[in-house]
């Protein structure tokens, strides 16, 4: 087995047993990435030098018997909307070209303290707005399973890097499905934690009440290991919970789903799905039954019909405010202008891509005088309604099962010029953000033409352990998905 094919757990074990060194692992991952990048274009930058130095430091510490962090020597990649000190953080936008933050995101600090080694920054849809990673100012990322298809978005680069074996784990962000959908398209695990579990400090905000950072991994065990580290409390984020976090690894020990109630949403059962997605979904229902879970039908009438408009009012509204700070004064792109107003107008016109502009415009509109009540306020009420329905649902079930996306990865160019069609693909993921629930996408097979088929489990608030236990059992039953070769054997 190649070093880049190892999971987080396997790397940790191997380092402990001196089977290999951290430098060897890092070099292997780096080479793997460099080899496939011309086809996949998952990354915007590499942190080769600092990474190698860190790997060497880990090796030195290992040799001298020092106590190391829980992820020491494990390479990882981070979506380029998370601040990395002194390392360009572009959000895949021209407006932040080459911007170097003077500080790390909280999760980057946590991973750093744990000994994990940053290998690069991943491509995304600009400012995390999109479902295909086609809206990046720096190029399109390809799906490692089928190069003419999208990897999903907005965390397409993070998902592709793990699927293709660049690194054993990466971080993405999820506002309306941007971790789960790429995870489904790329055949890996992607977890959006409960809102407030993971600190948002240093995550360039898209929609503050919806954003969450989460891991991509190839194994359930790795998901628990990474979640343990990134879910630490943070006093510098007022929306980050101060509750004590459990040891997520314990959830992996579940031996069955007996006694568990898994909900199927009545309103999604009739939804038009790609037949292979439907097949994968049915297979997963069967799996749950086989594991001893009771399947319960629940009704969530509002989320399917009205979740989309609700989300596409609220997310752009918050985004329009969060992106107003990009004005050419303190960082990033700054167009030549004789007046302040010109500076704003020209910089933002030049710096933002078309999808970002669309969302800023819609967001500004729904907050503006005369329209706030009709749109923003209504959407917030609908959000409460959706949340309320979930509260009721979780009285009769522990977890909910539904597809991640209605189709597998679509072809590049297919939806990029039809924004609303693109938005429709989020129908199963965005209600989860609206309610602040945790959601996990896992791979449930491959289509005939080799595209991964994902399904999604939604847990109750703070129910990550339930999701991890299901993932662990699923993996036990079906094995770990292979690494995508990116068109290379």
């Amino acid at each position: 087995m190649e070093l880049f094919e190892l999971s987080v757990a396997q790397i940790i074990e191997g380092l402990q047993n001196r089977t290999f060194s951290a430098s060897e692992v890092f070099k292997a991952c780096l080479n793997r990435a460099k080899m496939l990048e011309p086809r996949i274009s998952a990354l915007l930058s590499f942190t080769e030098e600092s990474g190698m130095a860190q790997a060497e430091a880990v090796d030195k510490a290992l040799a001298s018997g020092e106590k190391l962090g829980p992820l020491a020597g494990v390479p990882f990649i981070v979506k380029d909307n998370m601040c990395t000190k002194g390392i360009p953080t572009t959000c895949a936008s021209k407006i932040l070209a080459q911007w170097k933050p003077p500080y790390n995101a909280a999760v980057v600090d946590f991973l750093d303290e744990a000994g994990a080694i940053l290998m690069g920054k991943a491509n995304l849809d600009e400012f995390a707005m999109g479902g295909s990673t086609e809206h990046s100012a720096y190029g399109v990322t390809s799906n490692p399973w089928k190069l003419d298809c999208v990897p999903g978005g907005s965390s397409g680069g993070s998902a592709a890097s793990v699927a293709a074996g660049y690194v054993p784990f990466s971080l993405g962000s999820d506002t309306g499905g941007s971790i789960r959908q790429p995870a489904a398209f790329c055949g890996i695990y992607g977890l959006k934690p409960t809102y407030g579990l993971v600190s948002r400090r240093g995550l360039v905000a898209f929609a503050s009440s919806l954003d969450q950072i989460g891991p991509f991994t190839r194994t359930a065990e790795d998901m628990a290991l990474v979640l343990d580290v990134i879910s630490q409390k943070d006093d510098h984020d007022s929306t980050c919970s101060r509750r004590s976090r459990p040891d997520y690894k314990k959830a992996l020990r579940a031996d069955s789903l007996k006694g568990r109630k898994i909900g199927l949403i009545k309103e999604t059962l009739g939804y038009k799905l790609d037949p292979e997605i439907k097949e994968a979904f049915d297979k997963t229902v069967k799996f749950c039954k086989e594991q001893g879970a009771e399947i319960v039908e629940i009704s969530l009438p509002t989320m399917i019909e009205y979740g989309l408009p609700c989300y596409y009012i609220l997310a752009p509204a918050e985004a329009s405010s969060n992106l107003a700070r990009f004005d050419g004064v303190r960082y990033g792109l700054s167009e030549d202008a004789a007046s302040l107003i010109d500076l704003y107008m020209k910089t933002r016109a030049e710096g933002f891509g078309v999808e970002v502009k669309r969302r800023i415009m819609v967001g500004t509109y729904v907050l503006s005088s005369g329209y706030y009540d009709a749109y923003y306020l209504v959407a917030q009420k609908v959000r409460q309604l959706i949340k309320r329905e979930f509260v009721n649902a979780f009285k009769s079930v522990d977890t909910i099962l539904l597809p991640t996306a209605p189709t597998p990865a679509f072809r590049k160019g297919e939806l990029v010029n039809d924004p609303i069609q693109m938005y429709m693909a989020d129908v199963f993921t965005l209600p989860v953000n609206l309610a602040g629930l945790p959601g996990l996408s896992l791979n449930a097979g491959f289509s005939k033409d080799g595209r991964p088929l994902g399904v999604q489990f939604i847990g109750s608030w703070w129910g990550e352990e339930d999701l991890l236990s299901i993932a662990a059992l699923h993996e036990k039953a079906y094995g770990t998905a292979p690494i995508a070769q990116g068109g290379v054997c």
Binding site: C83, Y103, A205, E318, A324, R325, R330
Partner: protein, 490 residues
């Protein structure tokens, strides 16, 4: 045709900087005056991508304190809102403020009226928000208009503010001045703000409209750039005249923002090229609702210091002072403390009041010092005053000693010695010797008296005056007169 009369209708919007150590949403220092630009900054107050606000507990405390002192109802469940607009001094392009649910509402400030009565200026609301950065404009006159470029310093950005809005209850420029003076005194008493208009820790914007006796009511003008109480008063007086004039001429008053020009003594319409702001307020998603725990407000109530009107009341009752004197002594807490220390150390309240109000304040004015730096300690002043209380030295002599202590910063004993002031006054042989000395130096006057030419006794009175002057009030006038008469007989 009956003559038209005009009445001003004034409301004030006051921003008070709260004197916490750190900013409202980050831990940067609030000590920006004189600091090198952009040194008290961090990702949060610079509005860097990925930064998040965290509320300062002390800001809530000071806000509630101020609200209670302003007789407001404190709302125990409120929230923050984003006020969205673009400007060079606003790093996030939104200000975190409060909108539909302010921290406190429906209070009042009591002000004295010219006829000796009392009037309540109602307070609509008090809310918390963050201050913006400061701009330095590159223009020959340092002004904004026409400056080719400007420079931004974010040190002040994020400093906590309490915005206090009054109802348009104020009926004159004088009342406006009084309202601000009372409010300023209040926040200083509470220790929640320096309340300094010149330094910018208390900023006043005025809204003024004019009602005409024939029923017309002009639109209101907002007046900005009022950096002192004097400026406030002059600006409002000017605006009142200007608006009344317009109405008298049958013209309309435009609703606009006007800038007070202290040098020219006029308000000028500001050129605002932008349309009216659409702030697109929405609840701040990065902060949870602001919920005051049970008992929080009560606890703050318990820690409230004595408020100005309470102190005045107490001074009147305990020290038997009249209201005017009590108000002078309690204008600033340090002065009130000084006075009370004096009384505690043994000075009679009435005499101590006179001394503090006249002599102490005079020296403070002359030497341009604050009471904290006063060269004579309250206990020492008390000693001096007690001597006058006990008739041991005269007031005149005491004043000389006081002035000497203030000027030379020496002790009471040294000053008395320097001034030649003795307890018990000058009498007996000392007095006799002194009178002899004066008679010797004024032999020509003595001659006039002795030759019976001092028909009206004027010259004798003159000598008496010299004696009393020399004695600096330490001689008993009757005794001095008798000794003089006696010696003149010789």
């Amino acid at each position: 045709m009956s003559e038209l009369t005009f009445t001003p209708v004034i409301g004030l919007e006051i921003h008070v900087q709260l004197a916490t150590k750190s900013k409202i949403f980050c831990s940067c220092s609030t000590d920006y005056i004189g600091a090198v630009p952009n040194t008290n900054v961090c990702p949060v107050c610079l509005g860097l991508p990925g930064s998040l606000p965290v509320l300062n507990a002390k800001v809530v405390e000071y806000g509630v304190k101020a609200a209670l002192a302003l007789n407001c109802t404190v709302n125990t469940a409120t929230r923050f809102h984003r006020k969205n607009y673009f400007y060079a001094d606003l790093p996030k392009a939104y200000q975190i403020s409060q909108y539909d649910l302010p921290l406190a509402e429906k209070g009042y400030v009591e002000i004295p009226t010219e006829d000796g009565g009392r009037y309540h200026v109602r307070i609509t609301r008090l809310h918390l928000e963050e201050d913006a950065g400061k701009l330095v404009h590159e223009a020959s006159d340092g002004r904004l208009v026409g400056a080719d470029q400007s420079f931004v310093d974010y040190n002040r950005g994020g400093v906590p503010l309490a915005e206090i809005v009054s109802e348009p209850d104020i009926r004159s420029a004088a009342e406006a001045k009084e309202y601000v003076a009372r409010l300023r005194q209040l926040v200083r008493y509470l220790g929640v703000s320096d309340g300094d208009m010149e330094k910018g820790s208390l900023r006043v914007d005025a809204n003024i409209s004019v009602k005409c006796s024939d029923g017309r009511w002009g639109d209101r003008a907002e007046v900005k750039n009022l950096n002192s109480l004097r400026a406030l008063e002059r600006a409002l007086e000017y605006e009142f005249k200007r608006q009344s004039q317009l109405l008298a001429e049958g013209k309309t008053v435009t609703q606009e923002t006007r800038h007070w020009n202290d040098v020219e003594g006029v308000t000028m319409a500001t050129r605002s090229k932008e349309e009216a702001h659409d702030y697109r307020y929405f609840p701040e998603p990065d902060l949870p609702p602001l919920l005051l725990p049970d008992g929080y407000v009560d606890k703050i109530k318990e820690t409230m210091p004595e408020l100005p009107w309470q102190k005045v009341d107490r001074f009147e009752k305990s020290y038997k002072l009249n209201e005017t004197d009590a108000m002078i002594l309690t204008e600033h807490i340090p002065l009130a403390d000084f006075y009370e220390a004096c009384v505690k150390a043994g000075a009679s309240p009435q005499r101590a009041s006179n001394w503090v109000r006249t002599e102490v304040l005079r020296i403070m004015n002359e030497q341009k010092i604050e009471i904290e730096d006063f060269p004579i300690k309250p206990a020492v002043l008390a000693q001096l005053v007690s001597k006058v209380d006990d008739n041991k030295i005269s007031t005149t002599a005491a004043r000389e000693v006081f002035d000497m202590m203030a000027a030379r910063r020496i002790s009471l004993e040294e000053a008395m010695s320097e001034c030649g002031v003795e307890e018990g006054g000058i009498s007996g042989s000392n007095l006799e010797n002194m009178v002899r000395g004066i008679l010797k130096n004024n032999a020509d006057v003595v001659e006039i008296i002795k030759t019976g030419q001092d028909k009206k006794g004027k010259k004798q009175k003159f000598l008496q005056g010299l004696i009393m002057k020399e004695a600096r009030g330490q001689a008993d006038p009757k005794e001095a007169a008798s000794v003089l008469a006696q010696l003149l007989e010789e």
